[in-house]
Amino acid sequence: MKDTKRRIELYSFFDHSGIEKHLEKMAKKGWILQKITNLFWVYRRANPQNLKFSVSYCPSASEFDPSDSETKNEYNEFCRHTGWNYAASGAQMFIFYTELENPTPIQTEPSLEVEAIHRSVKKTIIPIYFILMLLAVLQGAMFVTNLISDPIDILSNSTSLFTGFGWTMLFILFAAELSGYYLWRHKAKKAAQQGEFQESHGHKTLYCVTLLAVFIGFIYWIISLIINSSYFELTIAVIMLFAVAALIFLVNGVKQFLKNKNTPAKVNMTLTVVSSFVLSFLLIGVVTFGIITAAKNGIFDRESQFYQSLYLDSPPLTVEDLLGNEELSDRYITQISGGKAVLLGKYEIRQYARSGDSDAKLPGLEYTVTVVKARFMYNFCKNHLIKNKDKTEGGKVIFADHYEKTDAAEWGANEAYRRYRSANYVNQYILCYYNYIVEINFDWEPTASQKSIVGDIFS
């Protein structure tokens, strides 16, 4: 039978009432809080008992205090003197318990409790939450801007979707936490004027739902990376994940080592911040150097000349198909990039003659395939692609750049559009098939048979 239990506890930083109730329930089940680490709360087994818990805040304490800190020891001694035993602490939060039926509470003056909590949380938690919220707003703004300017790119990229979704979720959480805290503080100050304490109510459900959603998003992102991404992208993502985990582990290790060595809090904080910067640069340097070295040694050349999507391991349409000459394939370089996400997929295919090829007249081919996985997105994607780009001045077109409808039947498509630019038609088409929209750019005027080849492939 295990004598310790580790739990991830999702309590709001100011929810002392919620934490107290939870710890009292745990004690009834025979588990007493022993330690608070960065990730877990550690409980030790004991006889099930009715204990009273008290969460209090000591503004002069710090996350960087030495293990044997004077502040911590003095505060504990004060509380022990009135019958409260130390359970655990984290930064400015101290947790005590007692077996006494009617102990003198640790906090007996409501206004001082409100002030102690505020002075404690504004030292670290509030600035961190504001910074994270600001970052979330910036990330969110970038995501929305990109979504407006190039929705297909964003919606077909699982990394963009995950980061956009993750930051939005975190913004909701931080905003709820901060507004929840200030609401509680407002009520607690009012209650304190009447000499009463105000119970706190955190956002445990919101915390659980948000973090679960982010976790599911993360799993989706990892799976889609494994399924859809190139060997190169996947390797970078895995290395970066390990690098971030290593960075957190190392910085935390530095802080804990200095705490154990009884280093003064300010020195510890300075050294931890400096080490986090140095280690970040070092890790980025090592990772970049490793990737460059690996690329030079051809480790990422597994699939093709450049890099390629695993989902599309060969282009659906090639210049060789169109020109009817399979022997040309060795004379071309083919690049495929892109990926897919929940709603959309997008692949860009480029074929161009190898440099140094004797026949300079070999034509190139470029096309983008938008895979519409969700039917309701079809018209949205089509309209985005055929969007009018005419330049106008005073209502007059001064530079025409738009798509015009053309005969779809010869392309075997449902709809077809040809680009009209300046004063001419160019060999650029948008072809709408059942669940593909192909934007194709020829170096030459395609013949009727070449159009039908394209139709055969995509319809």
Binding site: F78, Q107, E109, A116
Partner: protein
């Protein structure tokens, strides 16, 4: 600053300052207050810790010595003045009460 922040003292503030007429440490105050008020007033350890920090910041008390984990304090001139002012306020309140109800006796 001290005068504005502590323009009126709560019972717990009043008795803490009163205890510090003589040099004593935090734990002595935790025992003394219930003793001198016949258990009418109790002060929590966290509350006292915060109060001592704030009184020191406002120069109402000063630290005199540290013995191991015990820090001792004593009332300063500012602290004495604020305590005196509170005493006068309480006396004035008592006087008002007496005057108001004197005709009833």
């Amino acid at each position: 600053m001290a005068r504005i922040k502590f323009s009126t003292l709560t019972e717990q503030m009043f008795y803490t300052l009163l205890c510090l007429k003589e040099e004593c440490c935090g734990m002595d105050i935790l025992d003394k207050i219930p003793e001198m008020t016949d258990n009418r007033v109790n002060i929590g350890s966290g509350t006292l810790y915060t109060l001592l920090e704030q009184f020191c910041e406002c120069d109402m008390i000063r630290e005199t010595k540290t013995e191991g984990r015990r820090r001792s304090y004593i009332l300063t001139k500012t602290g004495r003045e604020i305590l005196e002012k509170e005493y006068m306020r309480i006396c004035a309140q008592a006087e008002d009460y007496r005057r108001f109800f004197s005709g009833d006796k």
